[in-house]
Symmetry: C2
Amino acid sequence: MRQQTDRGKDGKPRRITAEQVAKAAGVSRSAVSRAFTPGAYVDKAKRERILFVAQELGYRPNALAAGLQSNGRSNLVAIVTGDLVNHFDSEILAKLMQGLNAMGKWPVVLGGSDDISEAEVLGVLGYPLDALILRGGSVGESVATHCAKLNIPVIVSGRNMQTEGVDSVCCDNERGAEIAVQQLLARGCRRLGYIGGLTYLSSDQERRAGFEAAMATAGMAPVAMLQSDYSFEGGYAAVKNLLSQTTEIDGLFCANDAMALGAMSAAQKEFGLKVPNDLAIIGFDDIAMAAWPSFNLSTIRNDMDRTVSHILRLLGERLDAPGKASETIRIEPQFIARGTH
Amino acid sequence: MRQQTDRGKDGKPRRITAEQVAKAAGVSRSAVSRAFTPGAYVDKAKRERILFVAQELGYRPNALAAGLQSNGRSNLVAIVTGDLVNHFDSEILAKLMQGLNAMGKWPVVLGGSDDISEAEVLGVLGYPLDALILRGGSVGESVATHCAKLNIPVIVSGRNMQTEGVDSVCCDNERGAEIAVQQLLARGCRRLGYIGGLTYLSSDQERRAGFEAAMATAGMAPVAMLQSDYSFEGGYAAVKNLLSQTTEIDGLFCANDAMALGAMSAAQKEFGLKVPNDLAIIGFDDIAMAAWPSFNLSTIRNDMDRTVSHILRLLGERLDAPGKASETIRIEPQFIARGTH
DNA sequence: ACAGATTGTGCACACGTGTTCATATAACGG
DNA sequence: CCGTTATATGAACACGTGTGCACAATCTGT
């Protein structure tokens, strides 16, 4: 049974098709298709023979052609995520991909760059995606309206989006910031500062607003309000700069863990401060690194497992019932007490 | 111009097709296809009208149907990667995705789980992929033979694979380990230990072999040879265990940076050792974190940018010339001197 | 043994696109 | 005015699959 690799017009060898398997096994093409369809009417012996021949020839049904069917699904789900240098992003992306695989979906991932151009996202919309997941990032809302026209469900996570018909899963950032302030105050801190991330991200805006609101409620004014870039280096530089001007600060809330770790390092290495005694620090997200003994960072948990399981649930429900009303899930943050507060 | 969302058999609204655009614009379907094909013969005014109508209706050519063409490409490239908890993996994945996007390819990513089952990989082979990139991980070589039958080019990176016809880009791990040993010896260390990662990964086997060979060349015997799991926690536990039995060690080579950071933390926190004076440590990979001031880890750079650009180059060349002889690129590691040796 | 239900099978259609082919129109040089 | 070339256009085909439909074969119960 020699494989006679027939070639395309440009001489490029082509993929084995069901037609060729049918010919080799002496059956109709329909039978081949049915042999790969669980529950279809095919004689058991014939199915086994077909599968054997297919195995021999290295045939697999072309998922593209299958997805072209009127009621077929492509099983492709695009994930738009931000810069993976942010560990929270990469950790949650990993869990998300794993969950999608378990659902039989294949993630097409856009990201790695700091800002993904809208053109790139529109490019992937050329595929008849089962869904589009917007994980953080700063892609414009117009993408959602494009998806609406293409009947591609959109699920947003970790960011704000007002668009109608879009499911959303997001941590209650304001509440998280409020908890952080309360914990710092409970510890006895009285001169609090804030280090924010990228201001164009809604997560940063909400955390900042939550910090300011909680401070106002407590009748206090912040000692410092800085903006950085969500990175370790950014947090380091911000605190280095801050402490070189004033040491009148005893508590610091950082809008994510990476900046908190950078801030802590700067305070220790550059100024010899003791954390938390000289300066208490609380981060946000609870990335894996926060629990490392070298850091042992107190932080606000932005629960990845719950976020992912909600996203997957919403995805499944929407595929079953496209007309379903959209949901907005707010996930309650949780304070993780470690050694820096 | 009302969009009359026609529905599939199951009542699910369907995607706008070129047919509908043609009808709405009063032209043939061919004209619509040509309007989206640069350089095709279409009257300029007509093309603009078609594009306007398409915009209005939210039409985009279905990439699946286009990829079905005999000489068409799907523009999908699968990336099989390992556990993204390993920061080296997630950093290089980000760069790789970015590069593929720039080439007009869409990455379908498998990973996130520690061990990706071969079944998952075979699943994604259902799509007529332009290529499959195996980044590290421990997927069996049989995947490559499956790909060969399907005429899907395979590019392997960060791991060993003997299979014929497979392009490969990999750091010279043995050489890297040798450099590490030489640097530790040059510093004056005489009682060296090794902490390895997951033994079923070829990268670990090579680094271990390189360490042993370099030690033998220097006429020395290692004080300790441990195996861990490539994680921070693993490195921490290994060193905690090691140093509680003996302190007769003054130099440590770790098979990746995460373990090196864990090892350093354990030595400092648990035993109050000074790094590098009491114990010198060298890692492997040069992840972003290694440069953080808190760590300032001396390490062997496993150059991501060069790796990625080689992968992309090989991919492009193979798409142009499928019959091209396969290449094996070995990337020279480079010692990055920081503060831990 | 016979009616009815179940199981097996091939033909033909639909899915949405890019592209060849034949044909029609316009441009152009003489 | 004709002959040649460049441009424009719609019909038709190919891509590879799942499945509805009509019909054949086999099984089940009385």
